[in-house]
């Protein structure tokens, strides 16, 4: 067991190290100048030089993403419940949701920025929310509407209320699908935040740092931002995985 745990950590770390080495070697071998492709050895100094900004802006990007995602969970679940319980509401909302989801969010960003001028936090959270709530509402709706009638009947035949049935059966039964969607939604929300920060820079977030790297032609900084973003993305994803283990670990049938 201990050996296996060590392997679980060592294998990905080794893979990352090999990846970085290969990257460094490739840049050296091809003789690429920095403005074409920065090497890992260029990126670390960039990190260090701007470490305070990375911390501050990274935190801004993170909390706004989490806020947007949280909003998406609340609103998406509510919509999903309405659509899951009522066929009429499902028929009514579904085309609207699909159409809404089909609009590329990059085009929505300037519109939102114009509508709520100066409300940067709000705008960013709004985009993160808009881009991520679709998979959540659809997964909750499908989870609830495909609940086999027998599951409902074992409690309904005892005179249990609709809420009790939802709380004791429908909700837990939907959790695995919900977390599947939440992983997708977390990634999407993160894209949303960055979209806002980069397309409509307002002096905040990693997107802004990226933009200033671009303006001052500081390519190692731009690459450093990319890596910081990847790091945050991984953090967010595994936070969802941990929540999934806690609340829907029972759905994992693989031998422990």
């Amino acid at each position: 067991m201990k050996m296996q745990n060590a392997r679980k950590v060592m294998v990905p770390l080794a893979a990352i190290a090999i990846f970085l080495l290969a990257w460094e070697w490739l840049v050296w071998f091809m003789g690429w100048p920095r403005y074409k492709m920065a090497a890992p050895s260029d990126i670390w100094p960039a990190f260090w030089r701007f470490r305070h900004m990375f911390l501050e802006y990274g935190w801004q990007t993170l909390w706004r993403t989490v806020a947007g995602l949280g909003l998406a969970v609340v609103v998406g679940t509510a919509f999903g419940m309405l659509m899951g319980f009522s066929r009429t509401l499902r028929d009514a909302f579904y085309p609207l949701l699909v159409g809404f989801n089909a609009v590329p969010k990059a085009t929505v960003v300037p519109v939102i920025a114009l509508m709520f001028v100066g409300q940067h936090d709000f705008n960013t959270i709004l985009i993160a929310f808009m881009i991520s709530f679709f998979p959540i509402s659809v997964s909750v709706a499908i989870g609830l509407s495909t609940l086999e009638p027998e599951y409902r009947d074992i409690l309904r035949s005892l005179g249990a209320s609709k809420f009790t049935i939802f709380w004791k059966i429908a909700l837990p039964k939907t959790l695995p699908e919900f977390f599947g969607a939440l992983k997708v939604a977390a990634t999407l929300a993160f894209i949303g935040t960055n979209l806002m920060e980069i397309v409509e820079p307002h002096g905040r977030g990693l997107g802004h740092l990226f933009d200033s790297g671009k303006i001052s032609a500081d390519y190692p900084l731009m690459f450093a931002v990319l890596i910081a973003l990847a790091f945050l993305g991984i953090l967010l994803y595994y936070a969802v995985v941990v929540l999934e283990r806690i609340f829907a670990g029972w759905a994992d049938r693989s031998p422990a």
Partner: protein, 272 residues
């Protein structure tokens, strides 16, 4: 003996795109308290509909369903249900699954008491060692045992079973038949069993009702006046074989075909 369940002239149709689909037609069934009633009939004739009407999950277009002297107008906690699909909740242990109805019916009962009741039932069906396992860790027969425990844990007056053994292999099924007799000896419920296995109906029931094809009427009623618990060898007695043959013919008739044996049509116990 008083009748626990009284089904009087129940007629029901489902609305469909092609107009109403008549499913039950002037159905009359009486089930005495403490007895075991089996209902057999062609597939799709309305047996599951009948169980949902008795459980108060839906209401007939015409006619009345009475349970213990009261007209059924809503679901009630004196009913227990078991289906072909054991519908155990994977996020609960077997013990927690069995305790579920008590959480609804007796929310104020102390947890220890709920647990005692659930554990004693699990022991009765031979699952005492599996209380803390997850449903997916059990075999199909064991899951159905747990499902039966859950259906009677709150001491319902009536246990409604809709083809509970239909998905099990023949040997497991016979084990569960014997378990059914054992449960009846220990627990005071009245039982309604939907089945498509005639031997099962003869072995378990005090009366077997044959429904006609859709829309279902009470086509035939057979009394099995033998006390329980019955040994499994009962199904091989000449008497039981005769009953089986009668039921077999009635099923053929229900499906609109000629009986297997000629001359068996007019039987002494035709439905009233």
């Amino acid at each position: 003996m008083t009748n626990l369940i009284e089904i009087k002239g129940v007629t029901h149709a489902y609305p469909t795109a092609d107009g109403p689909l008549p499913v039950l037609d002037d159905l009359n069934i009486s089930i005495p308290e403490g007895s075991f009633c089996a209902v057999v009939g062609p597939s799709g004739c309305g047996k599951s509909t009948l169980t949902r009407l008795i459980a108060g999950l839906m209401f007939p277009d015409k006619g009345e369903v009475w349970l213990h002297g009261e007209r059924v107008r809503s679901p009630r906690s004196t009913v227990g249900m078991a289906f072909q699909n054991p519908v155990l909740l994977e996020w609960r242990t077997i013990l927690q699954n069995v305790m579920l109805p008590l959480e609804i019916v007796a929310p104020r009962m102390p947890r220890a008491q709920k647990e005692d009741r659930a554990r004693s039932l699990l022991a009765l069906v031979g699952l005492e060692g599996f209380a803390d396992k997850r449903p997916s860790e059990l075999s199909g027969g064991m899951r159905q045992r747990a499902s039966l425990c859950r259906a009677i844990v709150h001491k319902p007056e009536i246990l409604i079973m809709d083809e509970p053994f239909g998905a099990l292999d023949a040997f497991t099924r016979e084990d569960l038949w014997q378990l059914m007799h054992k449960l009846r000896a220990e627990e005071p419920f009245t039982a309604l069993l939907i089945t498509h296995d005639l031997r099962e109906s003869v072995y378990l029931a005090d009366q077997v009702i044959v429904l006609s094809g859709r829309p279902a009427r009470t086509q035939y009623r057979l009394d099995i006046p033998l006390p329980g618990p019955r040994p499994l060898s009962m199904i091989y007695t000449p008497q039981a074989v005769e009953w089986l043959a009668i039921l077999r013919d009635q099923i053929e008739i229900a499906q609109g075909r000629a009986p297997v044996r000629s001359g068996a049509v007019q039987s002494q116990e035709a439905a009233q």
